[in-house]
């Protein structure tokens, strides 16, 4: 599975973080407000969810995703925005919003676990 690495410098030792592979499909960015992004090694899991958060943004005029070929592990995301922002910024914000949603699910899930108001079965002998 190909992946690229970025070295993030922090106070302590540098940590390697897996960065996704994103490119802009050549010729699709005719102006900053529109672009088709190509995400390597991503599929419906991210494509559809990112498409949804993009469409939630009022500055986004158009957002969609497609998987051009089933045997190539890549997903295209098309974005067109109003003049108030750019396609790159809109996608950046879309990813940010989805990250917040994930954090919210985690928080809500952990709060529910802590509350413990559910049917529970004690661990059997192992």
């Amino acid at each position: 599975m190909p992946s690229t690495k970025a070295i993030v410098r922090m106070e302590e030792d540098p940590i390697e973080i897996d960065t996704g592979k994103v490119t802009i499909v050549p010729g699709t960015m005719t102006e900053p407000q529109c672009a088709t992004f190509c995400l390597q090694d991503e599929d419906h899991t991210l494509g559809n969810a990112v498409r949804w958060t993009l469409m939630k943004n009022p500055e986004v005029d158009f957002a969609s995703y497609s998987i051009p070929h089933p045997s190539e592990a890549r997903t295209n995301i098309r974005v067109q925005t109003s003049d108030k922002t750019t396609a790159v910024d809109a996608v950046f914000k879309g990813l940010d919003d989805l990250t917040d949603i994930c954090s919210h699910v985690i928080q809500s899930f952990q709060a529910e676990l802590a509350k413990g108001e559910f049917e529970y079965e004690e661990e059997t002998a192992l």
């Binding site: 897996d18 994103v22 599929d43 899991t45 991210l46 498409r51 790159v88 910024d89 917040d100 699910v105």
Partner: protein, 282 residues
């Protein structure tokens, strides 16, 4: 939480067991709920046997048959974060940082007196309990002695000796790495949104009925016009693990994996394209 979706997703846990759980996810989109389902199935890393070196095999099963069966045995993966993927490791083949070795050696001795006694069962069942792991945190799930997983049956005189190398992986690559045996995912049990088209002989209600989750929703009024703006709201999710991880950890891990993916994309986007658009004067 972000402004768009009034307060963000909510989780309500219905039941939690040793290797399964049920919960309801509300106030989010189908795409997010589906992403969670897809990551739990295919992208949460676990440990599974990936290489088998067979030294002796005089059983009735071929080497590759046994290797395949070994691969399917779930291994406890509570500590999987400690282990690296081999492709990211500095070693050339495999090492303790990216793998765990398991050994198996069974030799069935011949007892000539017993051999001729039809009342003695001479079959030796080789199970997951015969697999000896060098690392106690990664061992066959079924070592509870009551329900070990059968690998091969042997008769007196036969021998099986092998070394397994378990590696970290995800089910996107091979289903043996999936932490879940199944994820049930349902929304709109009354099919108000008409996302399902039921195949019927004569009567839909009679032939299909409604699921248990329908108890939480209001039944359809046949006179009500179809609401084409309606969206799915409540997602009933149920998962059963292979025992390799706790079910609640599978869910939490899935969400952090999603965040890691998004974070990685953001770094890349920031690095490469922010300047691109700035060139246009933005």
């Amino acid at each position: 939480m972000d402004m768009y979706n009034n307060g963000g997703p909510e989780v309500s846990i219905r039941s939690l067991k040793k290797d399964s759980m049920k919960f309801v996810l509300t106030n989010t989109d189908l795409s997010v709920a589906n992403a969670l389902r897809r990551i739990m199935i295919a992208e949460v890393p676990t440990m599974a046997i990936d290489m088998v070196e067979i030294e002796t095999n005089s059983t009735v099963l071929t080497d590759e048959f046994i290797a395949h069966r070994l691969g399917m045995i779930p291994l406890t993966s509570f500590d999987v974060d400690r282990i690296q993927y081999t492709r990211d490791c500095t070693c050339s083949h495999y090492c303790p940082n990216c793998s765990v070795e398991l050994h198996l050696h069974v030799k069935v001795t011949v007892d000539y007196e017993e051999m001729n006694d039809p009342n003695v069962d001479k079959t030796r069942q080789v199970t997951s309990m015969d697999l000896i792991s060098v690392d106690d945190s990664v061992r066959p799930v079924s070592d509870d002695k009551l329900h070990p997983i059968l690998i091969v049956k042997m008769r007196p005189g036969q021998e099986l000796k092998l070394k397994c190398v378990a590696k970290k992986g995800v089910a996107k690559e091979h289903a043996k790495w999936s932490p879940v045996y199944g994820v049930a995912f349902e929304y709109d049990p009354y099919n108000k949104l008409r996302h399902s088209h039921y195949w019927i002989e004569e009567d839909e209600k009679l032939e299909w009925g409604v699921s248990a989750n329908a108890a939480e929703e209001t039944p359809v009024d046949p006179n009500e016009p179809f609401d084409y703006n309606a969206k799915p709201e409540k997602f009933y999710i149920e998962l059963e693990t292979s025992g390799c991880m706790k079910p609640e950890d599978v869910v939490l891990r899935a969400m952090t994996i999603m965040q890691d993916k998004l974070g990685g994309l953001q770094i890349k986007l920031d690095d490469e394209f922010k300047e691109d658009t700035q060139r246009w004067g933005y």
